[in-house]
Each structure stands twice: as structure tokens, then as C-alpha cells.
């Protein structure tokens, strides 16, 4: 109604003007629309070329950063990875690589801050926790390092989580070994060993760590397991020889060490390592020659006992003569030797197994007491002392 009234109020001229105005406005709006369309396509073309170029730049700088990181040039890697991230800010792997580069460049504070920020976005991320654990370890913050190692073990990993967790556990064990927390390290290693697949490399790796963590028994077990794989590896033979020797299983040690020395790769080992193994074999041989084992003939065993007795008595005499005042422990030992018959014949000893046992115990005890009172023994005394630590294990 209002429109009709308005229409009726306009003169024909004004109506014509109005139509003209509507036409003009429509044309103006259409031209505006056309401008929008044209500008849109220009902007789109610009944006597309720009986006493609950004992707290329991100990739180019990422490659440079990774190469620099591999080449041990973390400062160059930092610049390159920062540049890459400027063009692809959401790339998570790139972010982690940058933080790793910061850590590698010893910019620990920056690296920790960056990793902490990344962790806030991905609280359960195993890789970030591992990196933070390493940085905390580097800073000597043991509690934090252990927390982050544990979080890394419990955290999420992309794809190869099973393998990565084992690697983290081995790294944690090594950290604990370095901190002399052998018990805790052993626990981690035994868990790792329990979950490990039947893979000789992994078995040998864990065995090596167990050996370092002062657990030769479990290490020997794993070395033996490793030796079940053919061909026998030199590392496994060496480890088995060493650990058997450390456990006073000199018979086993001799067998493994002989196989080690006969292994084709043995000559490729460093001279020092070769010498060490040869010495161990020599010692094991000597020990087996000195040890009065039950499988020996009565005569042979008695001869060895008398030989050992002589070595121990001489060691005691030397030790006593080196002291101006005789310590009570040495005096007790001397008294115990005094209680034995002054002269012992082979026959007498062959007929008295109890005396044999008493003499050998006295030999072992003498070597132990003299080593405490007069320092570490050498030569046959040293070998006797080794036997004394676990006589029953010698021929295991």
C-alpha cells in the first residue's frame, strides 16, 4: 500500500529517474561483483603459487637441516630447521628434529624449553619424553631423567613402539649403570631380556649390559643362549668366557676362551683385548691345574693339596715377616697352621680325606686373610685366592 502511495506521489519524470537509478545501482553492483570475481582469481593464483613455493622451501630447508644434523653441525641444523618450520609450522617431526638439534648444539636450556612446550601439546609422547630424559641426564638432574625415561617407556610411539620401548629400556639401563645403580639397571635389563625376541644381536646387547651391571650369571645365561645360534659369534664366545671366568666357572671359561682364541675373527680384535683373553685362559688353565678336584686320582689330588699348602704357608710367612707387630687375624692363621702335623706325608694325607679338606680350607682362608692384611697377591697366590672365592664352582 505504501509502495502504491509512493508511486502515485511520483511524477512520470521522477519515476523515470527512479528506474534509471535502479538500473544504475544494479549495474554498479554487477560491476562490483565482477571486480570481486576477477580479484578473487588473481588472489587465488598468487596464493597458489605462494603455497607451492612455501612447501618447496620447507622441504629444501628440512633436507639441509637433516644433512647438517647428520654431519654433526647442529648450529647449521638449527638455522635450517627453524627456516623449514617457518614454512611448515605444523610439522611435528620437524619440531622434534629442531629440538634435537638444539640439544646437540648444547643449547640445553632452549632445547628443554622447546621439548617441554611440545610435551604440553602431546603429553604422552614417548619420543619427546625420551629427549627430555636425555637432556635431564645431561644436566645431571637424575630424578627428572628417570621420570622422563619412565614416561617414555609408558608413552606412545609411532609404528615401532615395541622396538623403541626396548631401546629406551636399554638406554635407561645404561644410564642407571653409569650412575652405579646396578640393581635397578639389572631389573630393567631382565625385563628387556624377558620381552626380547629370539634375536642374537639383542641377546648379546642385553648380555653385555648385564655384564656391565655386575650380573655375570644372567649375562652368561644370555651369552649361552646367543651361542645356540650358528655360526657362533666371537662376541658371544668372549662374553661367555669372561662371565664364566668372573663366576669362577673356570672349566667353562677355559672351554669358551679356547673357542674364542680359535675363532677366525679373534685375530682382528685389538691387541689389548687379545692379551686379556689369553691371560684369562692361562689363568683358567693354571687354576684347573692347581685345583684338587674330586675327579682326580687320590695321588694327584694329594700332590696338588700339598703344593697348595706350601704356596699358602710361604705367603703367610712372607706376610708375617713384613709386619713389625703381628695382627690378630694373621696370628690366628699362624696358630691354625701350627695345629697341623709338622710333617705331612703323601700316604698320610691320602688316607685322611678330612685332613685334605681341612688343609684346603686353611689354604683358602690363608689367601683371603693375607690378601686383606698384606695386599693383593700375585702369581699362584692370586689363583688360589680366586679358587678360594668359590671352590665348588671351579669345575662347573
Amino acid at each position: 500500500m505504501a509502495v502504491l502511495q509512493l508511486r502515485s506521489a511520483l511524477t512520470p519524470e521522477e519515476r523515470q529517474l527512479r528506474q534509471k537509478l535502479i538500473l544504475r545501482d544494479s549495474l554498479a553492483l554487477l560491476s562490483l561483483f565482477a571486480i570481486v570475481i576477477v580479484l578473487f582469481f588473481i588472489t587465488l593464483a598468487l596464493f597458489h603459487s605462494f603455497s607451492v613455493h612455501r612447501q618447496e622451501l620447507a622441504q629444501r630447508w628440512l633436507t639441509r637441516g637433516e644433512n647438517a644434523l647428520r654431519a654433526g653441525q647442529p648450529l647449521i641444523a638449527i638455522d635450517a630447521l627453524r627456516s623449514a618450520l617457518a614454512y611448515a609450522p605444523d610439522d611435528e617431526n620437524m619440531q622434534i628434529e629442531l629440538a634435537e638439534a638444539l640439544a646437540a648444539a648444547s643449547r640445553t636450556e632452549e632445547a628443554v624449553a622447546y621439548f617441554n612446550t611440545l610435551l604440553e601439546g602431546r603429553p604422552g609422547n614417548g619420543m619427546i619424553n625420551l629427549q627430555l630424559a636425555r637432556l635431564a641426564a645431561k644436566q645431571g638432574d637424575e630424578a627428572n631423567a628417570l621420570d622422563h625415561y619412565q614416561a617414555a617407556l609408558d608413552g606412545t610411539w609411532e609404528g615401532d613402539g615395541y622396538v623403541r620401548r626396548r631401546e629406551v629400556r636399554l638406554e635407561l639401563a645404561q644410564y642407571l649403570i653409569d650412575r652405579k645403580h646396578f640393581d635397578r639397571a639389572r631389573n630393567q635389563l631382565l625385563i628387556a631380556a624377558g620381552n626380547a625376541p629370539d634375536d642374537v644381536n639383542i641377546e648379546l646387547q642385553i648380555a653385555g649390559r648385564l655384564e656391565t651391571a655386575q650380573d655375570p650369571a644372567n649375562a652368561l645365561h644370555l651369552y649361552k643362549k646367543g651361542l645356540q645360534h650358528r655360526p657362533a659369534r666371537l662376541t658371544a664366545l668372549q662374553g661367555a668366557g669372561r662371565t664364566a671366568y668372573a663366576l669362577n666357572h673356570f672349566l667353562q671359561a677355559k672351554q669358551y676362551l679356547e673357542r674364542t682364541l680359535n675363532h677366525p675373527d679373534f685375530e682382528k680384535q685389538p691387541a689389548e683385548a687379545q692379551a686379556q683373553l689369553r691371560n684369562m685362559l692361562s689363568d683358567a688353565d693354571h687354576i684347573l691345574l692347581m685345583y684338587p678336584g674330586p675327579e682326580l686320582s687320590v695321588r694327584a689330588r694329594t700332590e696338588r693339596i700339598l703344593g697348595n699348602k706350601k704356596i699358602a704357608q710361604e705367603r703367610l710367612a712372607d706376610c708375617l715377616s713384613s709386619k713389625t707387630t703381628v695382627p690378630p687375624a694373621l696370628q690366628t692363621m699362624a696358630d691354625r697352621w701350627q695345629q697341623l702335623p709338622a710333617r705331612l706325608r703323601l700316604l698320610q694325607l691320602e688316607e685322611d680325606p678330612e685332613l685334605e679338606q681341612t688343609i684346603m680350607q686353611l689354604v683358602y682362608h690363608t689367601e683371603q686373610v693375607t690378601s686383606q692384611q698384606c695386599g693383593s697377591p700375585t702369581g699362584d697366590d692370586a689363583l688360589l685366592l680366586k679358587i678360594a672365592q668359590a671352590p665348588e664352582a671351579v669345575e662347573q
Partner: protein, 584 residues
Amino acid sequence: MSVQSMQETVARISKRTLQRPLTQAELEKIAPTRDERLFLVLSIFIGVLSGLLVVSFRIAIEWIKILTLGSAPHAGQFRLILVPALAGLVVAALVQLVFPAARGSGVNQTKAALYIYNGYISFKTVIGKFVTAALAIGCGHSLGPEDPSLQIGAGVASMVARRLNLSRQRLRLFAPIGAAAGLAAAFNAPISAILFVIEEVIGQWSAAVLGSIVLSAISSVVVARWFWGSEPIFRIPPVTLRDPRELIAYAVLGIVGGFAALVFSKSLGYLRPRLRALPNWTHYCQSGIAGLLVGLIGFFGFAQVMGPGYEVIDQAMHGQFAWKLLLALALLKILATTLSFSSGTPGGMFAPTLFIGAMLGASVGSFEKLFFPHLAGTVGAYALVGMGVLFAGFLRAPLTSVFMVLEVSGNYSIILPVILANMIAYLLSRALQPVPIFEVFTHQDGLELPSMEEAREESELHLEDAVHPVDVPIIKGQQTIGEATQALTAARASALLVSPWDGSWYAMSAAELTAASATSTPDTPIERVLPAERVPILFPDMPLDSALHYFQRWPVLPVLNRAIRGKIEGILTQDDVLHCYHEH
């Protein structure tokens, strides 16, 4: 004159009328609702056009940066010194010789267009701003693209409105509409842009323009997001307030931000007028020298301060820097921006403000995290709050600063730290530097634009400030004229208030009562002689000036209680109102 010749004359006149532009009076007559309808439609067009231009502007800046400074500028590259210096010389020449209106940030220029030039911003200015600002920012001058985007948007709006021959009043309103669109696209944050334009450009919530501002801002953000995605300009890490004790740390950030805003304002306020006062020939090389100095900062190890620095804000927010480096970056950015801006290089203050705030925030956050780990939250949260803090302290837009942080973080849980820190910074900055920075620039440019901060704080007078207790007789409508005369005489008043049966009020002067007494008997009920009109309904909280124009008709005005119908709180005379204005 024959009929035919008369018709020819009329036709000739009509044709001439159709060809010339119509006057506003003619437009009002033939299409009274045209402006209003076009206003809304054009707001959308303006939003879309501004969005496209701002996207192109940002791409231009990035392309120029890559082509001139390289894809990864870093310390030790000689181009870091050469490029901003040469670009400064070129930009200065363009500004001096071709685009004089492109100088400065763009915020004050838009305000000037609104308040002085009837919303007029020339096409040349838009082109000039686009080219010179893109060149300067892309080549490493320490300036941002937001304020130029705001002016580009306002310019687009002005051009569109002029093309459609809209009224002067409408033309003036288009500038803030375009400004909101430009800023919204640059920030990818429509609410902040709308609030900033209302808080800093228009200065008031006007229903006439609010709808259009919202439409244009949303249109431009839709366009910007179509290209850039819905993510804010920097990635926001997760931010939470875990422990109320963290508020202490945020309060410290507010104090640091307040002082930083003061340093920044004072530096600009000191250097800018001195450089402007130098002889005219020096204006051709000031930008070049500023570029050289900024380049030297970059060359000697702090390339991060060059350009707008969004990626550096992003890195700081994600904890990539140690607190000492962050602090150094904040201080050097203040220096670099002061040099670039004071030299008259076209470019904005928003991005540098956000940069400095983010660096300070991250620095305070990292420091507290290092030394008081139980007090501090995430570094990203501090950087985010830091941006708001400097926005509030330096640009003095407290409401925008709070909403900006909320909008870019998309996280409401940070509201408490943001409000606390921003308000501390705002109040501290206001106490130490009473004149806001944009107003300082306005005065330096010799303009007198309205101060939005003063306007916000002006205490408006209300009727309750002038009202006094009822001291005139109050008569019921049924009472007689004789009783009314008697009451008026007894009170020795010049008027009385009559309350008719319907609860309305009538203020009758003594002269009116005398006239009524002359024409009616004394026992006539007074409501019979009352005319139909009644006094306006006024309440104590209404503005004082709302009563002024009624005194021409009424000798006295009753002020009513809003809760109890018919109850008078007091009365008001013209003298009361004038006295109140004198007092304040």
C-alpha cells in the same frame, strides 16, 4: 509557445536531469530506503573485497621478503643491511613524491577520514599504502601489516560508497566498516577487529553501524580463512591455568608489560616529532637510514626483529628461546620499531606490539619456570597473555586486548590471567603516560581528532544530578480550580503539578491557572480545563540533556521512580539543569 515546443522543452530538461548525478534531496524523494538497503549489501561487498586485498597484501609481503631477504634470513648476511636501507630510500621517495597520504600506520588516517574528510580515502592512497607498506615490511622494516590493512579496508569502503553516490552521512560511516573488514582479515579474528574499530575508531556503540561492521568483518574473515585456513596467525599451544598461585606470576607480567609499554610510547613520542621536524630533504633518506640501522640489528645476530615477526612469535610461544634471548628480542624490537615508524615508513604498530608482548611474556614465563617452577604455567600461555598485555598498555584498547587473546587462543580458561595482567598493564601505562600513543601521533601531525579514551571516561550527567525535592503543590485531577489557586498561593510557587485520573502528570504554570480561573468557575474540577498533552515521562538515570528541550513548553518537570508507578523522585527546572552544567 506551441504545445509541441513545450513538450520538446520538457523532454530536453528531463534528459538533462537523467544524465546528471542526482542530488540527495532527489534521491530522498524517489528512493527513500535506497541508502539503508544498499548499506547492508555493500557491507558484504566491502568485506569480501577487503578480505581479498588483505590476503594479496600479505602474500605480497611474503613474496617480497623471500625475493629480497631470502627464504631464511639470518645474521651475518650483508643483504640484511642493504635491502631495508635501499627499500627505505625507495619507499621514502614514493611517499614524498607520489603517495603522501600513505605515510604512517593507517589508524589515525582512517580516523581522520571519518572525522575530517567525510569518509573520503582516495584510490591513490589505497594503492600507495598497499605498495609502500608491502615493500617496507617485506624488506625487513620492523612494522606490521594490520594497520595498513585497516586503512586499505577503509579505502575500499570509501571507493565503493562513492561509486554508488551514497549520502555524506553514509559515506562517513563506511570508513569504519571497511576498517573492521581490513583488520579482521589481517588478524583472522573478527571480534577483535570489530571491538578495536568501536573502541579506537568510532568510540561508541552505534546501532546504525554495528550491523554493517559485523557483516563486513565476517565477510572478510570468511575470505581470509578460505585462503589461510581457520587457524589464527600463530599456532596456539595448549593454555590452562592450573594453580591460582600462577596469577601472581601473571600480575608480574602485567607490571613488566606496563613499563615496556611506557618505554615504547616514550621512545616513539620522543623520536618521531624530532625526525619530522628535520628539513624536508632529510625525509627522502630517513627511511633508508632507519632500514640500515634495523638491518644492522639483524646482521649482528637478531634477524628476528626484522619484518612483522609472526614466525618468531610462534617460535616464542612454543618455547624455542631462552628467557635472556627473549628479553633481548623484546628490547631490540622496541628500538627497531621506533626507528622504522618514526622515520615515516608506512607500516603498522600492531604486529610489533604483539611481538614485543609475546617476547616479554615468554621471557617472564621462562624465567619464572626456571626459578619458581611452582608458580609458572606454560610458556605459550605467558606469550599469549603478554601479547594482550602490551596491546592493552601500549595501544590502550583494554577490551580488544582481552577479546583478542580469547579469540586467537580459542580458550576461555585463560580469561583470568588475561584480565588481571591486561588491566594492570593498562592502569600502569595510563598512570605513567596519560596520553595514548595514537593521540600523541595525532597531536604531532597537527590534527585534532576525538580521543576515544577520554570519550570513554567522560562522566555523563544524569537527571538525578540536577533534580531537587518537590517544592510545588501537587493537585489531584478531581480537585477544583479554586483549591488549586489556594494551594499555589499558599506555596508561593510559580507552577503546580496536576495528577489526572490516568496516572499521568501535567505541569501547570501560574499564568495557565489564572487563565483557567478566568474562563471557568472556581468549583470546576481542574482536569476539565487541562489540554490533552502531558509532561514527558522522565527517570533519574536519563541523560541530563534529554530534559533541556522540554523547558520551552513546561515550567517544571517531574522525575519519576522507575519501580513505583506514579511516584515522583523530585522535580526539575531549567535553572536546575543549567546550574548542574555550571557545577560540572
